[in-house]
Symmetry: C2
Subunit: 369 residues, 2 copies
């Protein structure tokens, strides 16, 4: 595949950290929520090794926030997801499937409960703001729905906690997984959660105010020099090994949460008022007919997966692969696919129509990481 | 500015014409509605000259359609826009500002009235599908809102009509501006409108069924060989000369239609039920405080405009430039900006903070084309 150039325009938005990303020698981007998201610094493999052994600072400003603020915020939030939010406490983060009236996935964000009447939804790649605004306008609910000036910066890797402590203090160690605390930086309080789009551990700093972007970036880089901190980004190999799904790649509106293996985040019986509840009650009862699976693809390193690759059982298509990469640690091509129930059992042998020809593949029991 | 590479992923969708685009030697892309949109074939300047003298075929599949189908389709459509649709006939296309409850622009699409109960909205760069689905779910209206398998292919340039006639027949000549007809290709009927994102004349073919994409692409290329038909794309220089706005570049949710110079497409008094009507009635009465203007920027060719450039009157910021390019025909940098009322009169001298320093600029009476 020939690498393509990306033309500059304001529409493909820069972030508060773009100056740092460029100075660090970013080699490639994707566009995510109409914003630049770095994909490569040294090489995908070198970035992978470094992520697994040291600490990286990631510009994930493209995880835009949808803010719900007002007396009906909690009620509107529950309307958006089949996950039961009734026991969710202030200070918690929940991974919440968001579905349309048919139960199709619109996004798989993280909801951050700041107060009873104030929530952030930290979104994957779709304009969820427009869905939430549309629903709110349609039902006439008393909530302000906005995209605030909040840009997440992730600190990921085994040395993430040590680096964070140097900038935010020892209190960081007390932040539990998918919880957040408020920590001061240059006299301002920032929401810091133990979360992130890797399996290596770390934090996401919700940088409120773009003017703080580069000062925080520089502070982290300076504090972590002896930890070998580097600019990084979500790593294709690492996320596929870990089975971290990518909205738009591994799932779309065509899929229910159950197909995505997210049934455990659905409490549809209890999610009273949730749009799509009727459709999902049926799905929850009957179970999905296809589901996300870890797939190992044989042969040498696969090329970039820029379209769905058909998964075949002989002449019959029984699924598709939507993310794939060569794993140095597992010495195999790790992949994420959607597979029909008839063929999703572990160790099922399949073939995948890769761009360079038909390859042997096998359904795995679980992801690698 | 260093050109950036774009990483491949399924999330950045290919189109039914991507094989043709690649074979034609595309040099760069942007990402538009999470889909590949070519930006350069030979060079922006060479593509510009060719567009103005011959005919080009453009992959604008990224102009996704939002389909409204059902007994309440027309009522829902009117709810979305301050433009009065009551006199719109089947077979017409209307440029319609779409606004939120505050009158902020959500998109500036073309509405295509296929039948009383069936509409397409051919969108600019935002997930308008989610807004329309959200509104429909919220108000509980009897309309199916979907993204159908429809991918526009544009044929633009002074020889566009001659080329279209060779593929679709003489009936093409009778299609009036912003009207459409249905024309057969390989036994299927396609909607063909006289429209497009250039000032050079031409058509947009709404290719219903991705399987028809490459056959139609190839048929146009074969039929137009002696017309010097080439693969092309929306051209930055030509569209700025012509004052064709780009959603996300020249306007965002922060702007009303009136600020964008689209007040003539608002009949807010008569657009009963339109979301944002209250806010826009006020704006229509008082007029905007800033508005889109053609701006000429002095000096040599400007670099790519990847962020808003402040427009200054001495030490005071009075606007911003959001699209700019060197025009070979006008021997000046043509630009689109948003300017405060105090400084928007024709011939007002301003300064623009370009990346390479402060430049003299002047507000023009009108766009160039």
């Amino acid at each position: 595949m020939t690498p393509s150039l990306l033309s500059p325009s304001r529409r493909v938005r820069r972030t508060p950290f773009s100056d740092g990303v460029e100075a660090a020698g970013v080699k490639a981007y994707t566009v995510y929520n109409r914003m630049l998201l770095p994909t490569v610094f040294r090489s995908v493999q070198e970035d992978y090794r470094h992520l697994k052994t040291a600490v990286q600072v990631w510009d994930v400003a493209c995880e835009r926030q949808v803010e719900l603020r007002g007396p009906d915020a909690a009620r509107l939030m529950q309307r958006l997801t089949p996950r039961d939010l009734s026991a969710m406490q202030i200070g918690q983060c929940y991974y919440v499937p968001i579905v349309d009236e048919t139960g199709g996935m619109l996004n798989d964000p993280v909801a951050v409960k700041l107060a009873e009447d104030r929530w952030w939804i930290s979104i994957a790649d779709s304009d969820l703001l427009l869905w939430v605004k549309g629903v709110a306008a349609g039902i006439g609910v008393d909530v302000a729905v906005t995209e605030p000036d909040v840009s997440p910066l992730a600190v990921q890797g085994p040395r993430a906690e040590d680096l964070m402590v140097r900038v935010f203090g020892e209190g960081i160690r007390g932040v539990r997984f998918f919880r957040f605390g408020r920590f001061a930086f240059q006299g301002r309080e920032l929401v810091v959660a133990r979360s992130g789009y890797s399996k290596q551990g770390g934090f996401e700093i919700y940088v409120e105010g773009g003017d703080l972007g580069m000062p925080l970036w520089d502070a982290l880089m300076a504090a972590g020099a002896d930890l070998d901190v580097r600019a990084g980004c979500p790593n294709l190999i690492e996320r596929v090994e870990g089975g971290l799904l990518s909205y738009g790649n591994d799932m779309t509106r065509a899929n229910t949460p159950h197909e995505c293996g997210l049934g455990k985040f659905c409490n549809t019986e209890r999610a009273i008022g949730c749009i799509g509840r009727d459709a999902l009650l049926r799905v929850a009862k009957e179970g999905p007919n296809r589901q996300i699976r870890a797939i190992a693809i044989e042969g040498e390193a696969v090329p970039g997966c820029d379209r769905a690759w058909p998964l075949m059982a002989g002449a019959e298509q029984v699924g598709q692969v939507t993310s794939a990469a060569w794993s140095p640690d597992h010495q195999v091509n790790v992949a994420i696919g959607m597979v029909e129930k008839s063929h999703w059992a572990p160790d099922t042998a399949l073939q995948v129509q890769a761009p360079d020809g038909l390859r042997q593949a096998v359904v795995k029991q679980a992801f690698w990481a």
